[in-house]
């Protein structure tokens, strides 16, 4: 039977840790949660799996593949995102590749000296990590882990040790917590700060920051921009956060994160030492029952 649960009870980080420690091979699928009227054992609204949100594959405790429903993880998109193919090259390849899968395309691109094998592995690895780091910040969603399942024969697998991913993911979760205080959800919009023209003077933006800037408009939600620029939630939030912190853009309709109440600490009681004779008597009794 597959392992099933919800990320609100059992986080992606814990799942990665479980896979790492038990050296598992299999496929983790994360779904959008559809909230039902039923309550679970912790009295929270029960969620059933809806649309597939992401897939992560593992081989003997190592991460080998990841894809997300809201991101194009085809090799063309991944190489385009990594700057190894320009938009025009990507468009032409999409038109011509027909039924050719990622592995076949990779062989042709290497053969034609468009890219090297190293370029492909680095781009795919980065894409896997972007997706996984983003999934590590998810607060909820049903999941299922199927042992010994694979993502398919035509995807490119890149083995990645999980321990550094878990450590880096933990750091990013902390960072994401800070970012979430400023950007509560993906339904916020962006606008340029007052005197934006002067503020942008002499500022050197990164390529990813430039990708966002044209869409800064209160009419566009961050969710819409994320889809257009093909970035993960964490990626786009980090960029918007840095632009906001630099005073270049402002966030419209930001929601405040929920603060959970904490249980008070309880006092401790000293233990009562048992007698060995008593324990042995109970053992004998139980054995005879």
């Amino acid at each position: 039977m597959p392992l099933q649960g919800n990320l609100r009870d059992f986080s992606t980080t814990q799942l990665l840790n479980l896979v790492n420690l038990s050296k598992r091979t299999g496929l983790l699928t994360i779904f959008d949660g559809i909230t039902t009227n039923e309550l679970d054992a912790m009295k929270q609204p029960k969620q059933i799996p809806g649309a597939e949100r992401a897939r992560i594959a593992f081989h003997q405790g190592r991460l080998v593949y990841a894809s997300a429903a809201n991101q194009d993880s085809s090799l063309v998109a991944v190489l385009n995102k990594a700057g190894k193919l320009n938009n025009e090259q990507a468009r032409q390849l999409r038109e011509r590749m027909g039924s050719l899968g990622d592995k076949g395309l990779a062989m042709r691109l290497i053969g034609a000296k468009y890219v090297t094998q190293g370029d492909i592995l680095a781009a795919v690895k980065q894409n896997i990590l972007d997706i996984v780091f983003n999934l590590m910040t998810l607060q909820e969603g049903p999941f299922r882990f199927d042992d010994n399942q694979s993502p398919g024969s035509d995807v490119i697998l890149v083995p990645i040790e999980l321990e550094p991913v878990i450590i880096e993911g933990g750091r990013r979760i902390k960072e994401a917590g800070e970012i979430d205080k400023v950007i509560g959800s993906l339904d916020v919009s962006l606008k340029f700060a007052e005197n934006a023209k002067q503020k942008f003077k002499g500022v050197h933006l990164t390529v990813d920051e430039w990708k966002i800037v044209p869409y800064v408009d209160p009419k566009n939600t961050l969710r819409q921009i994320m889809k257009v620029v093909n970035m993960s939630e964490l990626q786009i939030k980090r960029i918007v956060y840095s632009l906001n912190q630099a005073g270049l853009i402002e966030i419209v309709n930001s929601a405040k994160p929920q603060v959970l109440p904490q249980r008070p600490n309880r006092p401790t009681k000293p233990p009562t030492p048992p007698e060995k004779r008593v324990v042995l008597s109970i053992i004998e009794k139980l054995k005879s029952m």
Binding site: D9, S22, T268, K269, P271, V278, V279, I282, E284, M289
Partner: protein
Amino acid sequence: MQTVKMVVTGPFSSGKTEFIRSISEIQVVSTEKSLSKDTAEAAQKEATTVAMDFGRITVDDELTLFLFGTPGQRRFDFMWEILAEGMLGFIVMVDSSKPETFREAKTILETFRAYAPTPYVVAANKQDHPDAWKPEDLRIVLRLDPEVKLLPCIAKDRDSVRQVLLELLYTILEEMETN
């Protein structure tokens, strides 16, 4: 007459009452109350333990073992500390088929450890359920040290319950010998 006490704790509906019921020589003095039909818990279980379950095993003329089951609902957790006082050891029941309760189980385990650092074991209950997580996976998710005993359990099966109690007693003996 000497009496000793063991506590069976765990999240709501993890099988504590059934565990005690399976081994107790008297009909369990259960303080379970029927849940009103409109509550969320009603869907999980017909009745819940309000204050505590109470079972008994008479060892001999001079010694009796009492088993106390804690209430699983957090609004009765003021009872936990009272029940924990003077216990020989405790068992943390985990419903292996309900991952939403694992975090609660871990919190309860840590709370009881703080009350009294007495020996304990963890029982991975409902191992006969098709959705049950395996004990080795539960060990990782509950972050249990390798020396902590995590035992497969089916609370409605007397032999399984007896084995869990015996393992707790062996742990108590081991700790006595170490100290």
